[in-house]
Symmetry: C3
Subunit: 109 residues, 3 copies
């Protein structure tokens, strides 16, 4: 069994969840925050049988897409830099960042 940890954009969270259920994958969702953009995103924990790993990775790939998000530069509170120059900067954000980890043991009680 493998644990798939997938960080996706909030916009794709429900679509991916529905696609997982439709293909009989089980999943748990965690609310998370991106380190760089400091905005909310979604982290899925998905325990899958080894032989279904490629299928779930494909599902994530199909349902999560890259987008441009605006990053509002953090203006120093002391007002030293000209706030007017703090225009939002576009940043490309990928559809999903996925880690696959080995599960030594799986139990359900």
């Amino acid at each position: 069994m493998k644990l798939v940890i997938a960080v996706v954009q909030d916009k794709d969270g429900n679509k991916l969840r529905d696609a997982l259920i439709a293909q009989n994958f089980r999943a748990t969702k965690l609310a998370s925050t991106g380190g760089f953009l400091r905005s909310g995103n979604t982290t899925f924990l998905i325990g899958v049988e080894d032989h279904r790993l490629d299928q779930v990775l494909d599902l994530i790939k199909i349902n999560c897409r890259a987008r441009e998000q605006l990053m509002t530069p953090v203006v120093p509170l002391d007002g030293s830099s000209e706030p007017a120059s703090a225009y939002p900067v576009p940043v490309q954000v990928g559809g999903a960042t996925v880690f696959v980890v080995d599960i030594l043991r799986f139990e359900q009680y």
Copy 2:
């Protein structure tokens, strides 16, 4: 050392936490959401010495019990299906879903 990732029902969260503390296990709790029922549940991260793995799994088994939860079918927003027919459906939810992962390195600073 092993990392135990246990998804349990919110109703058992505090009971399990107290049982872990009483047996001198350390744990961190994350608020999570079930993929299928879309309702809140609790994910524990528990780092344990290898020789105490069976003990912590027993503790989870004893303190977390299966229950029936009602799932309210999601009625399509366009009102096409007769809302009156969207009776809640009982779904059996297990006490705990547990993943055990190997820890290569453990540090405390």
Copy 3:
């Protein structure tokens, strides 16, 4: 690749995030709760190349410091014990608790 799971005090969360970004590490933050003190803390997920593992552990060590937190004993609701005697008890809390896990596969879509 390794997944670093670091539980740190909320007070150091932003400082560590900024230090990670400054050294070009990527990270995802989860809001969490300590099992013993029941108060909020922060759990970082940090996927790093194997050769940068020591560097990220050093960064966590430098930016997260131990503190004393006050634990308010939980007074039984029935008022049986004298509330006045429930003085807060100081508890030493470490800077960071860190688990390193092996990543079998890493994908970005």
